[in-house]
Structures are given as structure tokens and as C-alpha cells.
């Protein structure tokens, strides 16, 4: 592991094979030593099987995303997954479509994905260290953010799920607690949350794929944005019988449905 200095972290591919292909080419150009994937291989997009085949073929360490979990266990979304009934109906439609399309061996592959991957001081999760349904938005309060990294027992927590890439450095980590009348304080060392954005379903206002390059030596983080022929994905969405509105939203960089906006919300499941 020590000789692996530069890693690429990808997330939320959502069955968008064209985007994954472009990102893998870009990772190759960046000369990353290893790739990690934060889940949500399937859901909304038109190529769930092709994406899983590619991830398996390249033997990319991957954690289970909420969409992967739902394809294995059935729909199990909590209230923070859908901010409107329209989003919920669209999400269910996409789930049912994917559920019919997915090959049995791919479902089994998703079932066997771990919830968390730990590599020394790095932790890889889909949503948060508590739940792969939880949104760690960049604006989440500092206490919650720090708690999520500490509970992962890591210095750097890589997550996805929100589809918006960011790096958040937590350098004021002092906790004061009172136990049996005694005041105790702890100083947490510098921690980071790095969100890898989304390969296949961006929501930053452009259709481009995003992912992250992280240098373990220098701790430099590069948020990569990769152009690809999203028109092909849009056409496939329509051709394969998914709702045309998914294609329109993808082309606008709006996500297929929509996402929770409440940064203060902490998933209690």
C-alpha cells in the first residue's frame, strides 16, 4: 500500500457507461496508481450491467451505494432520500426499470460489496460512515462533519452521494465534554472530508463527469471534471424506455431526479 501514492476516487456512476469510460481514460492520463469507487453503480441510467462489468473487470475496490443496496434488498429509502413526491415517483420508476434489467450475477456482485473500505488513514464510504443514505453536504455543521470522520477512525473520509464534489478541511477539532461533573477536552488532529462528486449524474449545472485525484504523499486533492458525449447517454435513456425527462435533466447537469437540500439534516436511520 505504501507505494501507492496517487489514487483516483470515483462515485455515483448511475449506469452511465459513456461517462465512466471517459473518466477511466482521464484517470489513465493522470497516472493514478489505484482507483476506488464509492458506489451507486446503478440507478436512473441506461447501462447498469455494462457499468458493473467494467468495475468488475478492472477489479476496482468498491463500496455499496444506496442504489446498489436497494437493488439487492428492495426499495428502502428513508425520508431524506426524496424531497418531493415527484422525485420519489421518478426514483421508484428508475428502481423498477433497473430491477428488471439487472443480471442475477450482477445483483449478487452488488450484494457482496462492503459498506466501508479502510486503507490505513483513509476511509471510503458512499454516504457517510453512519449510513449510505446520509448526505454529507459541504455545508453540514462542523460538529457533525467531524463526528463522521472520527467515527470512521480515519484522517480522510471519502464520500459521494451528494453528487457535488468538494474538499472540506476540519482543522479546528476541539471537543469539550462533561462526564461525571468533570470537564474534558480533546483536540482532534486535522481531518478532511473529500466528496468525489458523480461520474454519471452530475448536479453542478453541467453534464460533465466529476471525480477526485488524491496524492497520499502531498495530500493534494484535485477535483477533476471530464467532458464526455452525454448525448449518447441521453439517447440511450430514451431508446431503452426510461423517462425522457431523465435525459433532459442529465443534459442540464441537474441529476435525474433531485436531492435533499437540507444540509442540517442528519439521517437518523
Amino acid at each position: 500500500m505504501l507505494f501507492i501514492m496517487k489514487i483516483a476516487v470515483i462515485s455515483c456512476i448511475h449506469a452511465n457507461y459513456e461517462a465512466l469510460d471517459a473518466v477511466l481514460l482521464d484517470i489513465d492520463k493522470q497516472k493514478a496508481d489505484k482507483i476506488y469507487c464509492l458506489g451507486d453503480l446503478v440507478g436512473y441510467g441506461p447501462y447498469p450491467n455494462a457499468v458493473i462489468e467494467q468495475i468488475r473487470a478492472l477489479d476496482i475496490p468498491t463500496v455499496k451505494g444506496c442504489w446498489d443496496e436497494d437493488i439487492v434488498e428492495g426499495l428502502n429509502a428513508c425520508e431524506c432520500s426524496y424531497p418531493s413526491i415527484l422525485a420519489e415517483k421518478r426514483g421508484k420508476l428508475a428502481h423498477e426499470w433497473t430491477d428488471k434489467e439487472i443480471y442475477p450475477e450482477h445483483r449478487q456482485f452488488l450484494a457482496e460489496l462492503p459498506e466501508v473500505i479502510k486503507e490505513e488513514n483513509l476511509c471510503f464510504v458512499h454516504g457517510s460512515s453512519h449510513s449510505n443514505h446520509e448526505y454529507l453536504l459541504s455545508e453540514i455543521d462542523a460538529f457533525t462533519a467531524l463526528e463522521r470522520v472520527l467515527s470512521a477512525e480515519a484522517d480522510v473520509l471519502f464520500c459521494g452521494h451528494t453528487h457535488i464534489p468538494y474538499v472540506r478541511t476540519l482543522d479546528g477539532g476541539k471537543l469539550n465534554i462533561k462526564v461525571d461533573g468533570k470537564d474534558l477536552s480533546f483536540n482532534a488532529p486535522l481531518k478532511r472530508i473529500i466528496n468525489a462528486g458523480s461520474v454519471g449524474e452530475p448536479r453542478h449545472g453541467r453534464p460533465n463527469a466529476t471525480y477526485v485525484i488524491y496524492d497520499r504523499n502531498s495530500q493534494e486533492t484535485i477535483l477533476r471534471e471530464v467532458e464526455y458525449d452525454y448525448h449518447k447517454t441521453c439517447q440511450a435513456i430514451v431508446d431503452r424506455g426510461l423517462p425522457a425527462i431523465f435525459a433532459w435533466r442529465l443534459a442540464k447537469g441537474l441529476e435525474y431526479a433531485e436531492k435533499a437540500e437540507d444540509a442540517s439534516h442528519v439521517c437518523t436511520r
Binding site: S84, W248, K252
Partner: protein, 252 residues
């Protein structure tokens, strides 16, 4: 005095009439011709002016009586009406005809009909109005939603998609929607103008589900099937409405 007002969709007919009514301190009547059962303008003006007397299509004959001239009456003509076809009625009616027109297009259709033309600015940001309104036969879609309660976050997503062109080339949209807490809101959009937030109408909160709700959408190459399906997906199920409103009534 009876005043009839005609013009393009979105030119500002209802807004112009609203200003006239607001400036009067005597009884006023209003008749919206051609609105059919999508009574967005009528509902909006009734909410703004609770004492406004509404004339509906069943009793328009009263406008022909000599006494009708004693009460100020505004007639708003929906864009979909053919001015030539309704001309016989207006020839019997003693009224002042006003056309609200856009500066940048051929207005002869309206100007020939009107006694007075007033230039309005709501379409000033479009420099191809003749193309917009005369080529490729724009479509008008009307959807009655009375009895339905919409989920506001869902409606906001739909309205964003609609006004950004997800369902075709939108020119004009207006709608009145009822929310589960008893509010009634107005959505209003004109091509090339900034999208406005939904406005809450100044009406008492009302849990009666028979309040009017509906939307009128005007544009080109509109995917009507998807529009209808998406609006239906924005509507709350009866069980959700009943549960919420029971809780609301207990709380009140």
C-alpha cells in the same frame, strides 16, 4: 361603461384590468370571455378584489341591457377567441374596445378591431414575436385540476422543467394550484422574462378541495402527455391529504 380588452397571451390584459379596478372606488364587474373552465384570471382578480362582481358565460345577455352601462364592466377576451366570430355580439354591445399591443410586431389584427390601442412592454424582450405567434401554429393546453392538491416541492420542480423547455417550447403558462395547508398559489410565466416564484393569493386558507385549480400552457411542440403525467405525479394521494388535514384541524 363597458370596456373590452384584447391582446396577445401574456401581454398584460389581466394586469391592466387590475390597475383600472384598483383605481375605482365604485362597484365593478368582470367577465372573462373564452376562459372556459380554466378560470385562472377570474380567480386571481376575485382574490385581489373580493367585492368584484363576476359575470359568467350563462348571463352575458345582461350586458346588452341599457342598465348595464351604469356599472363599470371589464371584459377580458382570451387570446384563443376569434375576434371576427365574436364581432356580432360586440356590435350589439355598446363598449369601448381596447387592444393591448406589443411594439415589435404587426398589430393590425388587434388594431383593426379596437377603438384604442395601448402599447405594453411585457413582450419587449422578444424581437421575433411574429415568428413566435404566427409560425408553426402554437398550441394551447388546458388542464383542470379542481379537486387536486399539489405537493409544492414537486410543483416547483415541474414548473422549473416546464419553463426551461423540458416539455417543448414554452411561450406562456399560468396556473392556480391548491396546497394541502389550504393556501392557493398562482404560477405565471412569460417567455424571456425572469421566472417568478409562485405567489400566494390573498384568500382565506381553505381546506375545501372543490376550489378551482387549473393550468393553461401555451407553446410549440409541447409534449402534452408528459406534461399531464408529470402534473398528476405532483398531486397528493387522498390518504396523504386526509391525514394532513385531519392533523391540521386538530391543531387549529
Amino acid at each position: 361603461m363597458i370596456v373590452a380588452v384584447a391582446g396577445l397571451p401574456g401581454i398584460g390584459k389581466t394586469t391592466w384590468i387590475k390597475k383600472q379596478i384598483a383605481a375605482l372606488d365604485k362597484p365593478v364587474r368582470y367577465f372573462s370571455a373564452g376562459e372556459g373552465n380554466i378560470i385562472v384570471d377570474r380567480t386571481y382578480l376575485s382574490a385581489e378584489f373580493p367585492h368584484l362582481e363576476i359575470i359568467d358565460e350563462h348571463n352575458i345577455q345582461q350586458l346588452l341591457s341599457p342598465e348595464a352601462q351604469n356599472i363599470t364592466t371589464y371584459i377580458e377576451l382570451n387570446w384563443s377567441l376569434d375576434l371576427e366570430k365574436i364581432n356580432p355580439f360586440f356590435q350589439q354591445l355598446q363598449c369601448h374596445r381596447i387592444a393591448l399591443i406589443a411594439a415589435s410586431m404587426d398589430n393590425s389584427y388587434w388594431a383593426d378591431w379596437a377603438d384604442e390601442s395601448i402599447i405594453c412592454s411585457s413582450w419587449d424582450s422578444c424581437d421575433n414575436l411574429n415568428d413566435i405567434f404566427q409560425i408553426n401554429s402554437p398550441q394551447m393546453h388546458r388542464l383542470l385540476l379542481t379537486g387536486e392538491i399539489v405537493d409544492l416541492p414537486s410543483l416547483e420542480v415541474f414548473w422549473y422543467e416546464l419553463t426551461e423547455g423540458a416539455y417543448g417550447e414554452l411561450i406562456r403558462a399560468k396556473g392556480i394550484f391548491n396546497l394541502v395547508d389550504g393556501q392557493t398559489i398562482l404560477g405565471n410565466y412569460i417567455l424571456n422574462l425572469p421566472r417568478e416564484d409562485f405567489a400566494s393569493l390573498p384568500l382565506p386558507y381553505n381546506l375545501d378541495r372543490n376550489r378551482f385549480s387549473g393550468v393553461e400552457i401555451f407553446g410549440k411542440s409541447l409534449d402534452n402527455e408528459s406534461i399531464v403525467r408529470t402534473i398528476e405525479d405532483c398531486c397528493l394521494a387522498d390518504t396523504a391529504i386526509n391525514y394532513y388535514q385531519e392533523q391540521l384541524q386538530i391543531a387549529v
